[in-house]
């Protein structure tokens, strides 16, 4: 296994993988077991002020399945820690003592300026290596807290500044994707003195509605709510946010990615898009800490295969290939190419091409095979994703092909 350490905001992480601030970082004991499996650090579950007593709704979470696939997403109504501050401080101290080389990030969320300051000083005192300011919890109903801060950019700056002024530790601002442009609050965080950005927190969503009682499927004694949604289904949103932040020249801060990562491939994608570390919760909810063993092993094998010596060499490698759509060269056109020798005759390509694509296929009902027409095909490639045979339908470039548009219907 390769050495997988990386420096992030001046702090050395044994591996780039972190348990994010969530139910999976609720106690030192569970975090310690995560460290043993390969997590390099933790954003400890968000600490709040003692003035507001946290009582969690019951039940707290709802899995979202798709077909036979379990938990492609999770809707939750989790809040900040409900444990007493002194217990959490003891746990943080215990962790730092037992795992001095692992990184403990103190995640905090104040309900007032004073609380932000007090919490920052308390966790600094407990021995954390970094701070993460939670500007993104989607379940805080009080104005001026959680995601509401992340949506009111001046507050992002103000609270970051308060913490910046009282502690020396590196500060991360954890942002919500529930905004139009995530780079805006990021720039405010930078102005406030943040050293790095964590993105994203959960995306607001609704997993489903009961068809008998009309109550959301995350049913808290007869009531439901729009709340945080996470898991593999949000990975594209997380990657998008990391790319936007990484490409924002004025920002120039290191990034901690978060959102839907489950496999080493997801992890490498986050790194390629510009994240230096990667946080996760839902994958641990689904599989347990063992996901990180495969992330470490997979990343190490990937580095061997591609000749990367250090994890940092991967960071941002995909960014030069990510453009605005206006930059595409539309003078080149291709079509879906069919390896009909291997076709099994299910006809799904024909159905979708006809109903959702370019009507570029005919159906030979005697042979039970599609008949492609390169000229009519506008390479939406829908057929390729519904085809059950691996790589039977692939994209091919056609030299000199003119874009095709359907003819009007005759009156």
């Amino acid at each position: 296994m390769r050495e997988l350490s990386i420096e992030f905001c001046g702090v050395k992480f044994p591996t780039p993988f972190l348990l994010s601030s969530s139910p999976v970082s609720n106690t030192a004991e569970m975090i310690a077991r995560g460290f043993d499996k390969g997590f390099g650090g933790v954003a400890y579950k968000t600490l709040g002020g003692e003035h507001t007593k946290i009582i969690h709704p019951s039940p707290r979470m709802r899995g979202y399945d798709y077909g036979g696939k379990k938990v492609i997403g999770v809707q939750n109504v989790e809040m900040t820690t409900d444990r007493p501050l002194k217990d959490n401080i003891k746990d943080i101290k215990w962790l730092k003592k037992r795992y001095p080389k692992h990184v403990v990030i103190g995640s905090i969320m104040g309900f007032s300026k004073g609380e932000w300051r007090d919490l920052a000083l308390t966790v600094e005192d407990a021995g954390v290596d970094m701070l993460e300011l939670n500007f993104s919890c989607p379940h805080m109903s009080v104005e001026g807290t959680g995601m509401k801060v992340g949506q009111a950019f001046e507050l992002v700056k103000e609270f970051t500044r308060i913490v910046r002024d009282c502690v020396k530790l590196p500060i991360l601002a954890k942002l919500t994707s529930n905004v139009t442009d995530i780079t805006e609050p990021a720039l405010y965080a930078k102005e406030g003195g943040a050293d790095g950005i964590t993105a994203i927190n959960t995306v607001r969503g609704l997993a489903g509605i009961g068809l008998d009682d009309f109550i959301p499927s995350l049913n808290v004694y007869g009531r439901g709510a729009i709340s945080g949604y996470s898991g593999p289904a949000i990975k594209p949103i997380g990657l998008k946010c990391i790319v936007e932040l990484a490409k924002k020249k004025e920002l120039g801060l290191p990034l901690s990615g978060c959102g839907g990562a489950e496999t080493w491939i997801d992890a490498v994608e986050y790194l390629l898009c510009g994240a230096s570390t990667l946080q996760m919760t839902t994958s641990v909810i689904r599989y347990g800490h063992r996901v990180v063993e495969d992330m470490c092993e997979g990343l190490s094998d990937f580095m061997d295969a591609k000749g990367f010596k250090q994890v940092k060499d991967i960071v941002g490698k995909a960014l030069p290939n990510i453009h605005e759509t206006s930059a595409f060269d539309v003078s080149k056109q291709g079509a879906a190419s069919y390896d009909l020798e291997r076709c099994i005759g299910c006809g799904q390509c024909y159905i979708v091409c006809r109903d959702a694509g370019g009507q570029a296929l005919e159906w030979d009902s005697k042979k039970r095979r599609p008949v492609p027409d390169d000229e009519k095909c506008y390479s939406c490639m829908i057929c390729s994703f519904v085809c059950p045979v691996d790589d039977l339908i692939t994209f091919k470039d056609i030299k000199g092909k003119k874009p095709y548009t359907p003819k009007p219907s005759k009156l």
Binding site: T263, W264, I265, D294, E297, G298
Partner: protein, 452 residues
């Protein structure tokens, strides 16, 4: 790559090998795995191949890691994936059985090993040579495994094999339609890639020959020659032409003497004596060679046959006729060659487990039978070569002629000589032999390091 699993067990030829999973098929199968906390599949593998771990790795797209888990734990993981009676091992207690059916672990294991070959990924890293020489006598699954793990740790290992090609029972005892020749060769290549020297056509013969290897610079010897001597049956007609043993028959089938065995069974009725997996393999082979009618005559009842379910089903799918609870008493001849068999139906004198033995069977009065048969194949197992004792004069043997060992280290009573596989266990599985090979390699390393 399009791959299709065999849709029917009906064999078209002797080489009708079933293809393995494609990546998509493997992913779909791994998706059914429940990723149990205390994976019963892993507990069920004698060689500790750890399916619980490699399936999880496959599930989490860590395919190279999955290949690594298999090959580090079981150098013959591909072969075991094919020949293991998984239903009795890893798959037996699979939790998914409670939902639907067990995960097809054997096939996933085979797929991953083949996938590693396909992408050119070899997870086994050889340590620098330590110039300590170890000899392995026999290149069956026990010997190959022991040799591989010693070589990986830097030992200079030579394997002595009597036959033309390496593999032992895998080479000469498993029919081609089950384990393709190319597949076995490819997996053995992983072992020679570790620097193991395979010396075929190299019998270690003569008085004390195996023990004497210790005087020729080898610091330890692992004896694993298997059970090469087929048991015969002492009934009238056993000497007739066209009476043979399963060992010889399957060896001919694998060694390429197809004309010879084809002549023996094609368009004939064949009576096979025995009801174990080997008898079923012989029966299916006969059918693949276009034998007209094939009988398996067994002392056990239908539910008591020692054959593994898959092997029995394969024989049944190939229209083999099982004659349960029957005993052959005479092979009848005409002009010196087999013309048929005569026997009687039997029942057990006393019922109970462990009592399926010839001395407990008695004839059912008035239930004699005779069958027309052009060939008789005796498939009642095999024992150790009688010359073995001569080659290992300092080693203690059991009454059955098997080698006595310390169960923890596989050390024999002769210092520096270890033994494993069927020669110690009696007839056992390839995966048991792999387990022995691993155990012996560990013990040999421990003793040699301790002696430094």
């Amino acid at each position: 790559m399009k791959k299709s699993l065999r849709k029917t067990n009906l064999l078209k030829s002797l080489f009708d090998v079933e293809e393995g999973y494609s990546l998509t098929q493997a992913i779909a199968e791994a998706d059914r795995c429940l990723l149990c906390h205390d994976a019963p599949c892993s507990a069920g593998c004698p060689a500790e191949t750890d399916p619980g771990k490699f399936i999880r790795k496959l599930r989490l797209k860590n395919l190279k890691g999955a290949v690594r888990t298999i090959k580090e734990n079981n150098i013959l993981g591909g072969v075991c994936g094919i020949v293991c009676p998984a239903g009795r091992l890893c798959e037996e207690k699979c939790s998914a059985t409670e939902i639907d059916k067990p995960i097809n672990i054997g096939r996933l294991q085979r797929f991953l090993v083949e996938y590693g070959w396909q992408i050119g990924f070899n997870p086994l890293i050889k340590k620098p040579a330590n110039n300590i020489k170890v000899a392995v006598v026999g290149s069956g699954p026990a010997g190959l495994t022991c040799a591989a793990y010693l070589a990986k740790e830097g030992y200079d290992v030579t394997v002595f094999e009597l036959n033309k090609k390496p593999g032992g029972i895998l080479r000469y005892g498993v029919p081609s339609f089950r384990l393709g020749e190319d597949f076995a060769d490819r997996e053995i290549k992983d072992i020679t890639a570790l620097g193991v020297k395979l010396k075929c056509n190299s019998p270690v013969k003569g008085k004390g020959a195996v023990e004497n290897l210790l005087k020729k610079g080898f610091k330890a010897v692992f004896a694993c020659a298997g059970l090469s001597l087929p048991y015969k049956i002492d009934i009238p007609g056993a000497h007739l032409k066209n009476v043979t043993t399963s060992t010889e028959f399957l060896k001919d089938a694998k060694a390429g003497n197809h004309e010879k065995i084809s002549r023996l069974v094609k368009n004939k009725c064949v009576a096979i004596i025995g009801g174990g997996s080997v008898a079923m393999d012989v029966a299916s082979t006969c059918r693949a060679l276009k034998a007209d009618k094939v009988y398996c005559i067994a002392l056990e009842g239908m539910g008591e046959l020692p054959a593994y379910k898959d092997d029995l089903l394969m024989a049944l799918d190939n229209c083999v006729i099982i004659k349960p609870q029957c005993r052959v008493k005479e092979i009848t001849g005409k002009g010196g060659a087999v013309a048929g068999v005569k026997g009687n139906e039997t029942k057990w004198k006393v019922k109970g487990p462990g009592l399926f033995i010839p001395s407990n069977a008695e004839d059912v009065p008035g239930a004699g039978f005779s069958l027309n048969a052009g060939a008789v194949i005796i498939a009642i197992g095999s024992g150790p070569d009688s010359r073995l004792k001569e080659q290992l004069p300092k080693v203690k043997f059991t009454k059955r002629g098997l080698i006595q060992v310390n169960k923890n280290t596989l050390a024999t009573s002769a210092k520096g000589v270890y033994a494993g596989g069927d020669i110690v266990r009696g007839p056992a599985l390839a995966v048991d032999a792999v387990a022995d090979g691993k155990k012996a390699a560990k013990a040999i390393m421990k003793s040699l390091q301790g002696g430094k």
